[in-house]
């Protein structure tokens, strides 16, 4: 790891705990899961119901919003320029911020999985599935952040994307048509996987969808980055 990436990780660590908008993203769903899984006992409700619901919302929102917000703020406040003038490469910046967000989000994922009553192999499966989703979301956030010049612009772009991604799985439960579309999105597919705990066939399909989603995010990212750069 380069000294630049290490420095960016250090800065993010310092900054997150002072940045309430970002911090709330990381803690809200894990805390909600702990509360709901302990407080609600409804007869006939599927096992891990709240954990699965919040897990998908969490991975559709927290990494995406944070990555986009961090990038847009660095641009708006002209701190990114200082980094680039200090010879930080764009890839180092994305890796630094991305690794940091991934680590934090996985911590939250652990809390959600554990509070949801998952243990052992099941817990490992949930965490692996969430890890993939978090990665895709970070990429999507990077696309929005790279595209936006200001925080306002990033917010107006990320809200609809985030709403769609996070609410698709829930809406899919109530509507057949939405369900058909939802399964082609990584969040929708993740929800199906978590609820069925996946047999071999479903996992393979899930990996396909995740791969396709990831590829789409990477392509989008490359296109946007080529056009906008980091200025």
């Amino acid at each position: 790891m380069t000294k630049h990436i290490k420095a960016i990780l250090w800065k993010q660590g310092k900054d997150t705990f002072k940045n309430k908008e970002i911090l709330v993203q990381f803690v809200m769903f894990p805390i909600l899961t702990v509360i709901m899984e302990n407080a609600m006992e409804i007869k006939g409700m599927p096992e891990h119901f709240f954990a699965n619901l919040f897990a998908v919302m969490y991975l559709g929102m927290a990494p995406l919003v944070s990555m986009a917000a961090i990038l847009a703020e660095e641009k708006e406040k002209n701190t990114l320029r200082v980094l680039l003038m200090s010879d930080v490469k764009a890839i180092e910046y994305f890796l630094g911020a991305g690794i940091y967000l991934f680590a934090i989000c996985m911590l939250g994922a652990g809390v959600i999985g554990f509070a949801g009553g998952y243990r052992g192999r099941e817990l490992a499966f949930v965490l692996a599935a969430m890890a993939v989703g978090i990665l895709i979301s970070i990429l999507a956030g990077a696309v929005i952040g790279t595209y936006s010049r200001t925080q306002m612009m990033a917010t107006s772009l990320m809200v609809p994307v985030m709403l769609v991604l996070a609410s698709l799985p829930m809406l899919a439960m109530f509507n057949e048509r939405i369900a058909k579309v939802a399964k082609y999105f990584y969040t929708g597919r993740m929800s199906l996987l978590l609820n069925s705990m996946g047999n071999g066939q479903e996992i393979a399909e899930g990996l396909w969808i995740a791969g396709a989603n990831m590829l789409a995010a990477v392509v989008l990212f490359v296109v946007v980055y080529r056009r906008k750069g980091l200025e």
């Binding site: 250090w10 800065k11 310092k14 002072k18 940045n19 406040k77 003038m85 200090s86 010879d87 930080v88």
Partner: protein, 301 residues
């Protein structure tokens, strides 16, 4: 004196608007060059071009260090091309220059100390330099204050501290005292002079004539994107000293203007003997008068 920075034929257009036109400059090692532009039309743009943040429409910039040449928009010139010892890459160049400008942001939620610490980590600067630099700019007491809570003057100090952290050979200061109270401005001036005494070359911009006159070895007057005058401030003023006169203040508030030659000796002596003379002034112009003359003439053309 060794030339450290060369700007040749720089032109900058934004759309149809030409902001800089045929700008040529050389900055010698260890001097303070002031780019003086009271009308505010291109100072920041020129600094951006020189530091490689903006590619000029035309022209070239060269920064010559101890270890080779750097052309901001072309990267480091190879050893063969420049005929000088090999250079160790862009990173090397970055550590050799310090930049203080408004569009170089701070992390608002981080403290003064942490802002500098992040920069030190990025550049591999020893941590002990941080407190040293904070003390130097007078921010040591405020080291735990977050950047968002700094006053304008403190913010300028922090920006300056960050520019000084890597002990750069070449320092760019974009209107370092703009909007500061006179006391803070004077402290910043003192810091700038201290840096120069250490051998740092300084390129600063200002719209303040008096500041340029006090601080700079050379000034370049920029008007409508062109350099209309260049030189030592004192020399420039003397060059524009067309009508040599003496201005006398006499007791009782009377003012007398005398020609600055033999013919006035008698009168001068008279006032002195009478004890009426309070002060004598020469009437050479200051930079402001020179600028008015230059731009006034230009407008008449």
């Amino acid at each position: 004196m060794k030339t450290i920075l060369k700007v040749r034929g720089v032109k900058q257009c934004f759309g149809k608007k030409t902001v800089l036109e045929n700008v040529n400059l050389e900055v010698g090692e260890g001097e303070i060059l002031g780019l003086l532009d009271p009308s505010g039309a291109g100072k920041t743009t020129l600094i951006k071009i020189i530091t490689g943040q903006l590619a000029p429409t035309e022209g070239t910039v060269e920064i010559c260090g101890t270890s080779g040449e750097y052309k901001p928009n072309r990267g480091v010139v190879s050893a063969e091309e420049s005929g000088k010892p090999a250079v160790s890459g862009r990173e090397h160049f970055c550590q050799k220059i310090g930049i203080m400008m408004d569009n170089f942001g701070l992390y608002e939620r981080l403290s003064c100390y942490d802002n500098l610490k992040f920069y030190a980590k990025l550049q591999g600067i020893p941590m002990k330099k941080i407190e040293e630099t904070l003390k130097k700019v007078g921010l040591f007491q405020a080291k735990k204050t977050s950047a968002a809570n700094l006053s304008k003057g403190m913010r300028s100090r922090l920006l300056l501290a960050r520019a000084l952290l890597s002990e750069p050979k070449l320092l760019f200061l974009d209107e370092p005292t703009n909007g500061l109270d006179p006391a803070t401005a004077a402290e910043i001036h003192k810091l700038i002079r201290e840096e120069q005494e250490k051998g740092t070359t300084i390129f600063l911009t200002t719209h303040n004539m008096a500041e340029a006159e006090k601080l700079c070895n050379h000034v370049a007057l920029l008007h409508e994107g062109r350099i209309v005058e260049y030189g030592n401030p004192g020399e420039i003023c003397r060059r524009y000293h067309h009508q040599k006169r003496l201005l006398l203040h006499l007791a009782g508030g009377e003012e007398v203007v005398l020609p600055h030659d033999k013919s006035c000796a008698e009168k001068l002596l008279f006032y002195l003997e009478e004890g009426k003379l309070e002060t004598i002034h020469s009437t050479e112009p200051n930079l402001e008068n020179v600028f008015m003359e230059l731009t006034g003439r230009r407008l008449e053309e």
